[in-house]
């Protein structure tokens, strides 16, 4: 079973983000980390590969400036076998559809039975890339999986819904997106970290893949979340609760 996992390197969420004033995209430092939500995808892929046996492979696919490759190495250290990165200056500020075409081309070039992705990235949040990849590849997409298993040659998932969950299955080739409830991602071991240094990382350009950036979506402006206002301290002299009830009503909370 050939499993491709979509992963993204993002700036460390612990550090403040900076936006490019022109493209409104996040400025990418040299050192980026693995998007936390992708750890679930990597874990699901590793578990599927472990269940499938020896000839299963897990390939990471990512479109991003390579930088120090720190984030990719984190996922390799968890146990993925290799990585394919599409790093091309023309992709700076690529929209979701371009991103999906590029990643689909990279996955198609590698060959795959199953594609695993998170539900959305922590820095971009469009939440549409995995389904668009499936569409470009012509594969069914099983989304919002809270549980994944391979049964009788098919991939079966429990799809998280508002009311409960649906059980959905499809035969490979198939794409699935996994929620953070699906699995407990493993910690990389020191052995894994040392092995990650030796694992192959292919870097491709748009020319290698025969794709061109064709952005149709532009972010026209970005408004920051308003800074939190200072709270109001209510001195309680027996009537404090009335003032609090009034405040909650004003805020339309009750």
């Amino acid at each position: 079973m050939r499993i491709a996992v979509c992963v993204k390197q993002i700036p460390d969420p612990a550090a403040p983000y900076e936006l490019d004033p022109e493209t409104h995209f996040v400025v990418r430092p040299e050192d980026q980390v693995l998007d936390d939500t992708d750890r679930y995808g990597v874990e699901v892929a590793l578990q599927l590969a472990e269940a499938a046996g020896d000839d299963a492979s897990v390939t990471l696919v990512s479109m991003s400036p390579s930088g120090s490759l720190q984030g990719i190495r984190q996922a390799l250290a968890m146990g993925a076998d290799k990585a394919v990165i599409v790093d091309d200056a023309s992709l700076r500020g690529a929209d979701a559809l371009t991103t999906s075409r590029v990643i689909a081309a990279a996955i198609g070039r590698e060959g795959y039975d199953v594609v695993v992705a998170g539900t959305e990235s922590t820095d971009g949040y469009t939440g549409v890339v995995p389904q668009q990849i499936a569409e470009v590849l012509g594969a069914p997409s099983l989304t919002f999986a809270r549980k994944v298993e391979a049964v009788d040659g098919k991939i079966r998932i429990e799809r998280q819904t508002q009311a409960g969950y649906d059980v959905v299955e499809a035969a490979p080739p198939v794409l699935l997106t996994v929620t953070s409830g699906a699995v407990e991602p493993r910690y990389p071991t020191f052995k894994g970290i040392m092995q990650a240094k030796q694992k192959p990382i292919d870097t491709l350009t748009c020319t290698d893949l025969g794709v061109t950036a064709d952005n149709q979506q532009v972010i026209t402006s970005v408004d920051p979340v308003p800074a939190r206002q200072a709270g109001e301290i209510v001195e309680d002299e027996g009537e404090g609760h009335l003032r609090i009830v009034a405040m909650l009503e004003e805020a339309k909370v009750i």
């Binding site: 720190q70 190495r73 250290a77 910690y187 990389p188 071991t189 020191f190 052995k191 970290i193 040392m194």
Partner: protein, 381 residues
């Protein structure tokens, strides 16, 4: 030249262990301490992360890593919980190390796979009620009877010797008038009594017992290394262990530094953060110096060990400085925290209680000074 800068891989590993320690250990450390509870499940998780196998060959399930990576792990676990830090340090440095270094092929094959994966723990029984710093005064005796050793005597303060997953204790015993040897005593051997755990001032979630050997019989093949070489062997084991204790001390000083700087910035007295007072700020500066110096000494000793160079002096220097710095650091942190540093709701009181043993275990400060003085060629007794 031996470099003691950490590699990118060591730093990446530090991040992983820190994340693990903060998620799996930090939230429970105070509760385990209060209940004197040894958390077997967490030790097993440390095993899954490969921490007990770091410096050992892949052949036996180890990581094939180095001593430096072990120090990184001990430092990071010790930064949130000294009890789990010593469980790791003693498990590897005292428990596994003698068997991995001096054991026979059969002993390694039998014991190492479970030990390096944290499924089992090993202990090292050197100290006795009447032989601590003066370990050569060991009274425990082992006599060969056919194809069995018969062991009689008492050991004191033995870490990891009575946990539910303890598989063996390597004990030092007199096998002749002028000879000491090391012998593996499997847990549950007939004639071995594990006494109830000590009530300790610190390291309360760590497992420590006295042991009594009353005609305890083990196979003759359980002799570790060479008969009569037990003394040199445990001295070598302790040299390695001292670097581990330095790393554990460093973790504690680092925790004190972080907590103290945070508190000095946020605690307000007389209308300003207490860190506005030089009396407080300069103590934080001193903590920074202690942490830096401990770090350099610890990782220098680890780098020498990894390079196969002599470590006796560097290990004693690192252990002495880092453990004394850790004790000072906890005293400073408690002072900066005021009353909050004295109550058990926060971690500072636990840090303070955990520190003192660092100046005692695996060779007291006096013994380190003795080793260092001898290294200088002084005719000290």
């Amino acid at each position: 030249m031996v470099r003691y800068e950490l590699s990118d891989e060591h730093e990446a590993f530090r991040k992983v262990v820190r994340e693990f320690a903060e998620a799996e250990i930090a939230p429970h450390a105070s509760d385990w301490d209060r209940r004197h509870h040894f958390p077997v499940g967490t030790v097993r998780k440390m095993g899954d992360l490969g921490l007990f196998g770091l410096p050992f060959p892949e052949e036996y399930g180890g990581a094939g890593g180095d001593f430096t990576s072990l120090c990184v792990a001990i430092e990071e676990i010790g930064r949130v919980d000294q009890s789990m830090g010593i469980t790791l340090e003693a498990g590897v440095g005292l428990g596994i190390n003698p068997i991995a270094t001096f054991g026979s092929k059969e002993q390694k094959q039998r014991w190492l796979p479970d030990l390096v994966t944290g499924k089992a723990l090993a202990a090292f029984g050197l100290t006795e009620p009447d032989a601590g710093s003066d370990a050569g005064a060991t009274k425990t005796k082992a006599t060969l009877d056919g194809d069995e050793w018969v062991i009689n005597g008492t050991k004191a303060f033995i870490t990891n010797s009575g946990t539910p997953i303890t598989s063996l204790i390597t004990v030092t015993a007199r096998t002749g008038p002028e000879e000491i040897s090391s012998i593996i005593v499997p847990a549950g051997s007939p004639g071995l009594t594990v006494e109830p755990p000590y009530e300790k001032m610190g390291w309360r979630a760590s497992d420590t017992h006295g042991l009594v050997f009353d005609d305890c019989r083990v196979p003759a093949g359980n002799l570790v290394g060479e008969r009569g070489h037990g003394f040199q062997e445990f001295l070598a084991t302790l040299d390695d262990g001292r670097i581990g204790v330095a790393a554990l001390s460093l973790g504690l000083a680092q925790a004190c530094l972080e907590a103290s700087v945070d508190y000095a910035k946020s605690r307000v007295a007389f209308g300003a953060p207490i860190g506005r007072n030089q009396g407080i700020a300069f103590q934080c500066a001193d903590l920074e110096v202690m942490v830096d110096a401990s770090r350099l000494l610890t990782y220098r000793a680890a780098a020498l060990k990894d390079a196969g160079r002599p470590i006796k002096q560097a290990a004693a220097v690192a252990k002495l400085y880092a453990s004394e710095a850790a004790v000072t650091a906890t005293r400073i942190a408690a002072q900066i925290h005021g009353g909050a540093g004295f109550i058990e709701e926060g971690p500072i009181a636990r840090y303070y209680r955990d520190a003192k043993i660092l100046e005692i275990g695996e060779g007291t400060s006096e013994i380190q000074r003795l080793v260092i003085s001898r290294g200088l060629g002084l005719p000290v007794a």
